[in-house]
């Protein structure tokens, strides 16, 4: 499935660019209200990419009893790391975003950010073995678990008094 999707990449680039533009300008799900402000200023991403990365990271680590990746600002971190890092990973990531939107458009006639939650999850399940998923997941895990929210999530059960951890406790 992945291979077929990759082959479709070029077709999407040529054929569907109007849809992309339309999708970007179109109002968010729920209709008429203007999209909520991004709240941070991307260095690398355009606004559409930034919102796509926000929703992607939040699908990977959603809020539960503790905040998820979007609230933890992981997209902003990814934007910074890729912008200031070497070109290889940066370009692969940007291409991957486009590729994912192509899949989303083909499957659901909307770019990834405009897809419903269950559609986004289905898309991620579909690409789980792809290099792009590896990359976005690694970056999300790195960004989330180094954030204050992520560390609080890890330490939800408390932190011991000693690293030694006596046997009796197990």
């Amino acid at each position: 499935m992945l291979k077929g999707a990759l082959l479709g990449f070029g077709a999407w680039k040529k054929g569907v660019s109007q849809v992309q533009v339309k999708g970007r300008l179109a109002p968010g799900p729920g209709g008429h209200q203007p999209p909520r402000p991004l709240g941070w200023k991307p260095r690398l991403f355009d606004e559409h990419q930034a919102r796509t990365v926000e929703s992607l990271t939040d699908r990977i680590i959603p809020s539960s009893e503790t905040p998820g990746a979007q609230e933890a600002g992981v997209a902003e971190y990814i934007d910074l790391i890729l912008n200031d890092g070497p070109p290889g990973p940066r370009n692969r990531f940007l291409e991957g975003l486009g590729w994912l939107d192509g899949l989303a458009l083909r499957n659901y006639r909307a770019p990834f950010v405009r897809c419903a939650a269950n559609e986004q999850n289905a898309l991620l399940r579909q690409i789980q073995d792809s290099p792009f998923f590896r990359q976005i997941k690694d970056l999300t895990v790195q960004g989330y678990y180094t954030s204050k929210a992520g560390i609080d999530e890890l330490n939800r059960d408390g932190v011991p008094d000693t690293y030694a951890c006596p046997h009796e406790k197990h």
């Binding site: 180094t146 560390i151 059960d157």
Partner: protein, 558 residues
């Protein structure tokens, strides 16, 4: 022609380098009444530069800076070179060295007051006569001209001052230090210790480490915050700048010259003795000179040898022709990992973090010369602790839960093996390259011999067997490729000791055979490398050489 500014003072001694060894020379000589100039290529550091308590989210890249490698492609490979302290490590572009294409070498250097003591791993082990007299044990190479009994009082002096925490085990091949209380083992480590003792008769002990487990010599006990590589505002681990150098400054007899990059020694043509050193001011690039009656090189193994090679055609103090030869480092980065499924894991992030692991002393070739075609041996550093399952598959709420719920108790052992002293592993001056200060750089030639590779492979297999004995599951060998030479940061040799002036550069007191007021007390003087971490022994050797210098200087014999 360079215009050299010469200071008027003539010091009793110059010490080049302020790291683990230079700090000891400066302390001992000044406390004995000598007027000392300490020249350090790096800049001053104060506790305000320490970042061990900074959380990842307080750093721009949260500890994953993609920028460090731009100017530090070699240094950034080291775990200790981090977003908040990378500027302590040399700029590789300004400080190049060369190697043949097929012999990569990673040379890890810190140019800062305190040198690598600021970010070292603090593991501290004595050597024994199995090491100092290794050639007599198995017939390979040369014995040291000194023995354990010569060094023992200096080990004690250094340990009493530094503070080494550890557990006495009474092993002849790994003599006990004067210990502060040991740190505790984790339960996984205790499982390993008990099983390996019972089933294989081998000792697993807590790491011996230059970290205080109780207040000591005016410094506070460690509070287990963890990232010692970034500094320590409570001075709880050993670094020269807040111990030996502080003491030397307190005598009022130390002149500390930072940002002073020594290029070569100045030799008195009439006497053949060292008259002082020439250096470049790092920031202004002005060429200067300082004069002294004794010169002690503590610039670290390869920097000291580079200074000697740049001091005279063919190298200063090189009538033996051995200067630059017999470079060694430990081969490492291999071992085994596994999981201890019988222990329930409750990992956490952050402190308390024990800045130490466990240690398995050498067991190969202790009572015999050779095993399975190899001589010498290896020791292990290891760890066992609960870990989060960041590698859990999938995404979403299930993944987030799995990171915590699928956490497991992991265990690992990594070997550090001895490397034989071989003539073919050597450094020379590269005639075509200079550093940013116009000083000719080293060309380094080093690779592993079959003996190292056999030790390495045996060590990996034995690691897996010990984990198996401990009941570990999912045991995996790691390190199919061993470390690149140099990367263990235990480089020693290249100006070795010898009783016979034809076989080495310095005598058993680190005094150059050819230049009697010149001393090389850092790792350059090593004859063989053993398998223990070397720095405790480097400091003991420097302390011993310092006593000799003080004695001969008083007797006007230098």
């Amino acid at each position: 022609m360079q215009i050299i500014a010469r200071g008027n003072d003539v010091f009793d001694a110059i010490v080049v380098g302020s790291g683990c060894t230079g700090g000891w020379a400066a302390k001992k000589l000044t406390e004995a009444g000598m007027k000392v100039a300490l020249l350090e290529a790096g800049s001053k550091v104060t506790p305000r530069d320490f970042t061990e308590h900074v959380e990842p989210y307080q750093l721009k890249y949260r500890g994953h800076s993609p920028r460090i490698a731009e100017r530090r492609p070699i240094q950034s490979k080291v775990y200790a070179c981090r977003e908040s302290n990378y500027h302590w490590f040399v700029d590789d572009i300004e400080n190049p060295y060369t190697t043949p294409d097929d012999k990569p070498f990673y040379w890890i250097r810190m140019r800062v007051l305190g040198g690598r003591s600021l970010s070292w791993g603090r593991q501290s082990y004595r050597m024994s006569d199995l090491d100092f007299k290794a050639a007599s044990h198995d017939g390979y190479g040369e014995d040291w001209p000194i023995c354990y009994a010569d060094l023992r009082p200096y080990y004690e002096e250094v340990e009493r001052y530094v503070g080494i925490s550890g557990q006495a085990e009474g092993l002849p091949q790994l003599p006990d230090s004067v210990f502060l209380p040991p740190m505790e083992m984790t339960c996984g480590e205790r499982v390993l210790r008990d099983a390996v003792k019972k089933k294989m008769g081998r000792t697993v002990t807590i790491g011996r480490v230059a970290v205080l487990t109780r207040p000591h010599n005016g410094r506070a006990a460690c509070h287990y915050c963890g990232p010692c590589e970034q500094g320590c505002i409570t001075y709880s681990y050993f670094a020269s700048l807040f111990t030996t150098i502080k003491d030397a400054l307190a005598t009022g007899r130390l002149t500390l010259l930072t940002d002073a990059v020594v290029s070569h020694l100045v030799v008195d043509k009439a006497t053949g003795k060292a008259a002082g050193v020439a250096y470049i001011e790092r920031k202004t690039r002005a060429a200067r000179e300082v004069r002294a009656k004794v010169v002690v090189l503590c610039a670290s193994t390869l920097e000291s040898t580079r200074i000697l090679l740049n001091s005279a055609p063919g190298g200063l103090a090189n009538s033996s022709g051995t200067l630059g030869h017999y470079l060694m480092d430990h081969i490492y980065r291999g071992g085994a990992t596994g999981e201890l499924a019988m222990l329930k894991a409750h990992p956490w992030y952050g402190p308390p973090r024990r800045p130490n692991g466990i240690y398995i002393p050498r067991f190969r070739n202790v009572d015999r010369a050779m095993t399975n075609g190899f001589i010498r041996g290896y020791g292990y550093q290891g760890w066992s602790r609960p870990e989060f399952a960041f590698d859990a598959p999938g995404f979403g709420a299930g993944f987030k839960r799995a990171v915590r719920e699928k956490s497991r108790w992991v265990i690992g052992l990594g070997l550090w093996a001895e490397c034989l002293a071989r003539w073919e592993n050597y450094v020379e001056i590269d005639p075509d390259r200079m550093d940013a200060w116009g000083i000719p750089v080293l060309r380094i030639h080093m690779n592993w011999s079959d003996n190292e590779l056999r030790l390495y492979e045996d060590g990996r297999q034995q690691a897996a067997e010990m984990l198996e004995a401990a009941g570990a599951k999912n045991i995996q060998l790691y390190g199919d490729e061993p470390s690149v030479p140099g990367f263990c940061i235990h480089e020693v040799g290249t100006a070795r000791m010898s009783a016979d002036p034809k076989k080495g550069v310095v005598n058993g007191f680190c005094q150059a055979h050819d230049v009697k007021n010149l001393f090389i007390t850092d790792g350059a003087c090593w004859v063989s490398i053993a398998c223990q971490n070397p720095t405790l022994t480097m400091m003991a050797i420097t302390a011993r050489a310092s006593d000799y210098i003080i004695d001969r200087y008083r007797k006007r014999e230098l």
